[in-house]
Symmetry: C2
Subunit: 227 residues, 2 copies
């Protein structure tokens, strides 16, 4: 990569970090717990988030979501079925979300009334790892259909995550998914990472994930990266 | 994106196009048919390529592969089991392959003796679409586990492909994969695209794919983008 491009990229990243810190302060002031969901395309982020939003709302928690895609607002329409306020960021080809895009799309959300705010990133296991969006927790999703080696092959993304969620666990057997290897690979890249195994289709593992969310939010500053 | 970064990116792309044209001329002069395989992480590119290499070699065709990954040489080791010469490009975090990386890794391959040369790109459904690697045919892979909507959500990559391969077709039923919708979405983004359905595990559909490869190479300049 030419040196000049690298320097300017670093400039963009540093500007992103400054904006992300401001976003984080804004989320904390409003008392909203924010998550950034990252994964490959097709891991099932949207189905997982739809089920999460619906369950949280049924439990009396106020939540909202912002979802990024290159094109189409299919995901926002799917997520809106949960009843939560949802907005779409169409990146127009950009391969990741940046803090500036989040800041520009917060208008219309009443953050003060929210308990949880979810950001669903563009499906990409590489580029989103470099961009802090002001989240409290970064969640890396990995489906059983993708193979156990993904953390080793895409270490920056899994290394930058706070929590890993293994999705489509109902397909584990038919995909000959090796759970032990998957957990070992995740922990090799990110020692001590908290791992959940879920199926958005059958509901398996969802309660443990919801309990984690509610606990993490209630610990004052505890699970807050920026605190 | 700042204007200056955009300008420099365009400069990088134009330099890439010049290098890719030189690579394409070199491949054609050597009589080698070159393919660039692009997909999400976990689509099964490596398993598909391993089976393709093995079958082509059994049929008396000389082939080799170059495989890109952020980290690890797991894929090169898997592909080498086919008996074909294989080299790994470790991109060190870069999210796609560029023509310059291909040029730098051709040393050691005797192109004149090869019939087919495969490039397995970094698993990423966004960034590789912008980088011509001098290939004759760009192949976009999509697994049945990823969902039928991927072409609509990641149009630049599918639009830039010449051929689409739907992988893991043995899992279609358990994943409730809608074939009709998948084909319609592929054709909406890339009218007339040739679509193959395969299972690297069971071998379903592999013969049609191999026949296509052999036909495409034998048509003088016919399937050659640059010809």
């Amino acid at each position: 990569m030419p040196t000049r491009l690298l320097e300017i990229r670093q400039g963009v990243l540093s500007k992103n970090d400054t904006l992300a810190a401001a976003l984080r302060a804004r989320f904390h002031a409003a008392g909203v717990f924010t998550l950034n969901l990252v994964s490959s395309p097709g891991t099932g982020k949207t189905a997982f988030l739809e089920r999460t939003l619906r369950s949280l709302r049924e439990g009396g928690h106020a939540c909202a979501a912002l979802v990024g895609d290159l094109q189409t607002d299919n995901d926002a329409r799917r997520l809106a079925r949960s009843g939560a306020p949802v907005r779409q960021i169409v990146t127009g080809g950009e391969c990741h979300l940046e803090a500036q895009m989040i800041a520009e799309h917060l208008t219309g959300f009443d953050l003060d009334t929210l308990d949880f705010f979810f950001i669903e990133n563009v499906g990409n296991l590489v580029c989103p790892s470099s961009y802090d969006l002001g989240e409290d927790v970064r969640v890396a999703l990995l489906s059983v259909t993708e193979g156990e080696d993904k953390p080793l092959k895409y270490p920056p993304l899994f290394h930058s995550a706070d929590v890993a969620v293994i999705t489509k666990i109902d397909l584990a057997e038919v995909c000959e998914f090796d759970r032990t290897a998957a957990h070992a690979n995740l922990r090799a890249v990110r020692p001590g990472i908290r791992v959940f195994e879920v199926s958005s289709k059958t509901g398996t593992g969802m309660q443990a994930w919801l309990d984690f969310l509610i606990d993490a939010r209630s610990v004052p500053g505890g699970a807050h990266k920026g605190a």
